[in-house]
């Protein structure tokens, strides 16, 4: 169950489509220059990339239904080249968009309550959340009503549309962090204190050139104060964030430079003032939004046991399917990481197929994960075999969730004008080197993340193994980092030493993995062994 627009939401999105249509018209007519138009098109998610315009469509907190998914497939066919790319912020990107067609594309998206609002630009971006929201047993509440409240609050916020830099917020509601919450500009963990719901607020995380883990700024903000508090956080940033240097303009730099204590104090002062303005919506509004997220009408008394006699199905079951809070149900992870394929890409046909699976088997709901995979959140166990079969037929049944071939990779130099090196071929080579399924399972959980430049859209700092592509005198070069994590055991990876060429990096990864296997204790993941033994054994193995 998910949020449904009312007439107000629809009117706002429709007005935005017409505004952008007018802005495009003015740009094509030469009434505004590219310099003037660029921030406007970025606020509508439209980049000028290596090959064409790239459009980033918002998938609010990673949640969508089959109708929306079918439109995404239709957009891929009609306006693009037959595929889309799911991103590390739960959105979808199209790489071959024409500026002159973009207004019509946005109009089509608006018919299914979708848009590209604020998916780029120095404004508040897509609010991300836990891909298992509403299905996981460990959440104190579904975080998505809060994400929806924040989405509305942040949309066309008149004070915060020209921030020093982009602003990313994540909301989760469990101790297990499935959304890399601590690596966001603002991370909120919903918790209960003496039965009262509130948010633990972290400010100043981020990746990019200077990765930082967000310090806790407030251990408990009551739910009814949350928007005022976040408004205060943003106002302090808008006023005091650096504007002299684009690489020092994120809030993490401000919090780091003035210190968390001073930032906390300034926010507290501003919050005391903002709270008098009455900007928090009433409980009735929260309840209205929450009502959209009530659990689906699950069937009671469904079978818990699953027939495992198909060995391929059993392998997929063990790796990609996670427990659901409702008896008889399960959470299905669809891997968009076929061996040798492009991480996060899905063809229009595959998108349509996943939409159909959602409609028939998951109460018409899908999620996009920040690991560039898709989730069917509510599948009855008795339907798992049918789901797996359909996925197999479409090449989407790779049983590699959280294994070494479940790679997060940015588009890199094959697509992105900011990149210094290609990232996708490296992902393909590594996945191919480790293609053997049994070998992957033996290695176990290993989150490998690749960025094609220092902007770190591949989240390499948060990889158990991270790879950063750089330009070394005009030649692509790859640095290796170890020991990062975006989960609740958050940590930033450390570089091993000198970089490698595109073949050397694959060998270095393999040596790293083999070193882990030699040194590991029972039950230790790669990252656990690394944390126990340190960098030295790995350096020795890699550099000899």
């Amino acid at each position: 169950m998910m949020y449904k627009y009312d007439t107000y939401d629809q009117a706002i999105v429709d007005a935005r489509v017409e505004e952008f249509r007018d802005q495009v018209k003015r740009r094509l007519a030469g009434d505004i220059t590219e310099d003037q138009f660029k921030p406007l098109r970025l606020m509508n998610g439209l980049y000028l990339q290596l090959h064409a315009y790239m459009l980033r469509v918002a998938v609010p907190y990673g949640t969508l239904d089959s109708r929306q998914m079918h439109v995404l497939a239709h957009i891929a066919r009609k306006y693009d080249r037959g595929y889309g790319h799911f991103t590390t912020r739960q959105n979808i990107q199209y790489n071959w968009i024409k500026l002159e067609e973009c207004p019509d594309l946005l109009a089509e998206l608006a018919t299914v309550e979708m848009h590209a609002i604020q998916t780029s630009g120095n404004c508040i971006r897509n609010i991300s959340s836990d891909q298992y929201a509403g299905a996981a047993a460990d959440e104190v509440a579904d975080p998505r009503p809060w994400a929806e409240l924040l989405r509305q609050w942040s949309t066309f916020h008149p004070e915060f549309s020209y921030l020093p830099r982009k602003f990313k917020i994540a909301v989760i509601a469990s101790d297990e962090d499935r959304a890399a919450m601590r690596l966001h500009d603002i991370g909120i963990q919903l918790i209960k204190q003496d039965g009262v719901l509130g948010g633990r607020v972290f400010v100043g995380g981020g990746m990019g050139r200077t990765p930082m883990i967000a310090p806790e700024i407030n251990p408990f903000v009551r739910a009814e104060d949350l928007l005022s508090y976040i408004e205060a956080c943003l106002r302090v940033y808008n006023r005091y964030g650096r504007r002299d240097n684009i690489y020092k303009a994120r809030i993490k730099i401000l919090v780091h430079e003035i210190g968390a204590d001073d930032y906390r104090r300034q926010v507290a002062e501003e919050f005391a003032h903002v709270k008098t303005l009455g900007i928090d919506p009433p409980l009735a509004e929260f309840e209205r939004i929450s009502a959209c997220f009530t659990p689906p009408a699950f069937e009671e008394g469904l079978a818990e046991t699953i027939d495992r006699c198909d060995p391929d199905f059993a392998v997929w079951l063990d790796q990609n399917v996670k427990p659901h809070k409702q008896a008889g149900y399960a959470i299905v992870n669809i891997s968009l990481k076929p061996i040798g394929g492009i991480p996060g890409d899905a063809s229009a046909d595959q998108i349509d197929m996943m939409a159909d699976l959602a409609l028939h088997y998951s109460y018409d709901e899908l999620r996009v994960t920040h690991a560039q995979n898709i989730v069917l959140p509510h599948v009855a166990k008795r339907d798992l075999y049918a789901v797996w079969h359909a996925l197999s037929d479409s090449g989407l049944a790779n049983a590699n969730l959280d294994l070494i071939s479940d790679i997060i990779a940015c588009p890199g130099l094959d697509y992105c004008s900011l990149a210094n090196a290609r990232s996708i071929p490296i992902a393909q080579k590594i996945a191919t080197r480790f293609a053997d399924a049994e070998r992957q399972r033996d290695i176990g959980e290993l989150k490998l993340k690749i960025s094609g430049c220092i902007n770190a859209c591949g989240h390499h700092h948060a990889g158990h193994i991270g790879i950063l592509g750089v330009d070394k005198k005009g030649i692509e070069n790859y640095q290796l980092t170890l020991g990062g994590s975006g989960a609740e055991d958050v940590s930033l990876g450390k570089i091993t030493g000198p970089g490698f060429d595109e073949d050397g990096i694959v060998d270095a990864v393999e040596k790293t993995v083999e070193t882990y296997r030699e040194l590991r204790n029972d039950g230790e993941r790669f990252v656990d062994t690394y944390r126990r033994v340190g960098m030295e054994p790995f350096k020795e193995a890699i550099y000899g």
């Binding site: 094509l28 030469g30 590219e34 000028l48 290596l50 090959h51 024409k98 492009i342 130099l413 996708i424």
Partner: protein, 98 residues
């Protein structure tokens, strides 16, 4: 040699200055010598190109080869999707980029 490149304003397609107009094919790009800035200003002002810039290229029998890999990727298309490039049937096209 110095050549000019940019994107078509309306379509976003990568284009190269031929001396009189903008082509999709880097083979048609001409050496602008020291006159690049003037051409850029005029062409961008007239909206016949968007966000153009000057790059170094090496003359080869097949035409200019941009000095930087980024512009070679722009010239051909993504190395990981040969089917989406300007030379889908040419298995050696990727080598030209890299």
């Amino acid at each position: 040699m110095k050549i000019l490149t940019g994107n078509d304003l309306a379509s976003g397609a990568v284009t190269w200055w031929t001396g009189k107009d903008w082509s999709l094919h880097v083979e048609a790009a001409v050496d602008v010598g020291e006159h690049g800035e003037g051409v850029l200003a005029a062409e961008e002002g007239a909206r016949r190109v968007n966000a153009p810039y000057i790059i170094e290229a090496v003359p080869t029998p097949e035409g200019p080869r941009p000095a930087h890999i980024k512009d070679r990727v722009r010239a051909l298309g993504p190395t990981v999707r040969p089917d989406l490039t300007l030379k889908p049937a040419d298995p050696a096209a990727g080598d030209w980029v890299i």
